[in-house]
């Protein structure tokens, strides 16, 4: 899915806050992975189908030497795919902004907790 695989490091003495934050991050990460993996797979598959069909129309097989679509021909596919997936993206965007912003609060709490622990617990 082109997202960098993240291993969430679990520190030895993880606090409750840190645990909650880590789980939130993991959940968002997994959700992102699922969306993009699925989305990209569909993109490449639909692109392949499009190329095949176009080449058929031009009566060429996929393996022949001249079997390549021009950028202009491909751009039909790019536009169609983008337009078709607009509602999907609109929903994803809304959810992503929500999840992304929501993660800032526990992140901040964890940060404060770390400072507090460093200053007062020794």
């Amino acid at each position: 899915s082109n997202l960098r695989p993240v291993v969430f490091h679990v520190p030895q003495k993880e606090t409750a806050l840190q645990c909650r934050y880590r789980l939130m991050r993991k959940e968002t990460h997994d959700w992102n992975q699922a969306f993009w993996a699925n989305h990209n797979e569909r993109f490449f598959k639909e692109k392949e189908d499009f190329v095949r069909r176009k080449l058929d129309d031009k009566q060429q097989t996929v393996d022949s030497a001249e079997a390549r679509l021009s950028a202009d021909e491909l751009s039909e596919f790019y536009k169609a795919f983008l337009d078709k997936n607009y509602p999907l993206h609109a929903n994803y965007n809304r959810e992503w902004y929500h999840k992304n912003l929501r993660l800032l609060f526990p992140a901040f709490q964890v940060f404060l907790e770390k400072i507090y622990n460093k200053l007062f617990k020794r």
Binding site: N2, L3, R4, V6, H9, N32, W36, H39, N40, F43, A71, D72, L74, S75, F77, Y78, K79, F81, L82, D83, N85, Y86, H89, A90, Y92, N93, W96, Y97, N100, L103, L104, A107, F108, F111
Partner: protein, 308 residues
């Protein structure tokens, strides 16, 4: 992932899109240079610094919002947040600090008008342009306004107001964005399509080419308006004509051929075109008899009071 603190400065530069921020600062400096009031080294430094910080903040927020999309596209997949070199909280904090410091520097070091323009642009870029990229091709027009504001900021920092010359400069910058961006986006169509960005190059390729060409012609025309607005001497449109005509020629080629080589030529030349044009502007700045510190400001206030 722990943040590598030795590389912190490097990460901040990348987060602020330092090359883009540098160009933004350059256009603000140009606005200051062209403004018809005395050169004040402190004011100049402050608007430069303030604009740089505000731009850095805007770019950091943009990257914070766009992590999963940046990771999908080749051009942006090595960004700092995509690779996890900084945490999102860190990036947002950086943005908050540099943005607020930047705006304060603009307000106190220059004037409130400059800060207001900076704040407006910061909001426009992060809260309008960035989300809009995923909904409508109109985002490019909004983004072009964002590119046109920095010279206004530089000008406002110098004279305290926005004269017709400032608007001509801003209009030229606005027009320039189209050949620049449309050409860049031409070869990124597969990535934009997959990542879900709605750009002219994907949604309406013919419009993309038309708009790019149209605005190269626009720039050429605006340069003839520059002496009328008092921005430059009449020599400027003559001197800049070869530059603008070549730019238009490349725009025409892009319009006709619409392929990767013509788009790349147009994009590359756009990077050369604007610094050269700005240089020509500065060289052809009209000399004013009273261009000393006090009388310069005096004549500005006299004109202002006559207009009100």
């Amino acid at each position: 992932m722990k943040t590598d603190n030795n590389k912190l400065m490097q990460y901040y530069f990348r987060l602020s899109k330092i090359r883009l921020t540098g160009l933004v600062v350059l256009t603000a400096m140009a606005g200051y240079a062209m403004a018809p009031a005395a050169f004040d080294p402190i004011g100049f430094t402050m608007v430069t610094l303030g604009t740089g910080l505000t731009s850095a903040s805007a770019n950091a927020i943009n990257q914070f919002f766009e992590v999963p999309f940046d990771s999908q596209m080749n051009r942006t997949k090595n960004r700092v947040l995509v690779r996890g070199y900084l945490s999102p909280l860190h990036a947002v904090t950086f943005a908050a600090v540099s943005g607020s410091v930047g705006l304060v520097v603009l307000a106190l070091g220059a004037n409130p008008l400059t800060a207001a323009l900076g704040a407006f642009n910061l909001g426009l870029y992060t809260l309008v342009y960035t989300p809009m990229k995923r909904h409508t091709i109109l985002n490019t027009w909004v983004g072009s306004v964002v590119g046109a504001v920095p010279p206004l900021m530089g000008w406002a920092a110098c004279t305290g107001s926005l004269d017709p010359g400032a608007w001509i400069m801003a209009a030229i910058m606005f027009c320039w964005q189209f050949p620049h961006f449309n050409a860049l986006s031409w070869n990124l169509r597969p990535d934009y399509s997959r990542a879900g960005y709605r750009m002219m190059s994907v949604v309406d390729p013919n419009l993309c080419k038309r708009v790019a060409l149209r605005h190269t012609v626009g720039i050429t025309g605006l340069c003839f308006l520059a002496p009328v607005a008092g921005l430059t001497t009449p020599l400027f449109p003559v001197m800049s004509l070869p530059l603008n005509l070549y730019f238009t020629y490349l725009g025409w080629k892009f319009y006709q051929q619409g392929d990767s080589s013509s788009s790349r030529s147009l994009f590359r030349f756009s990077l050369l075109h604007i610094p050269l044009l700005i240089l020509l502007m500065i060289v052809n700045k009209p000399s004013r008899k009273n261009d000393s510190k006090d009388s310069g400001k005096e004549s500005v206030t006299v004109v202002q009071s006559e207009l009100t």
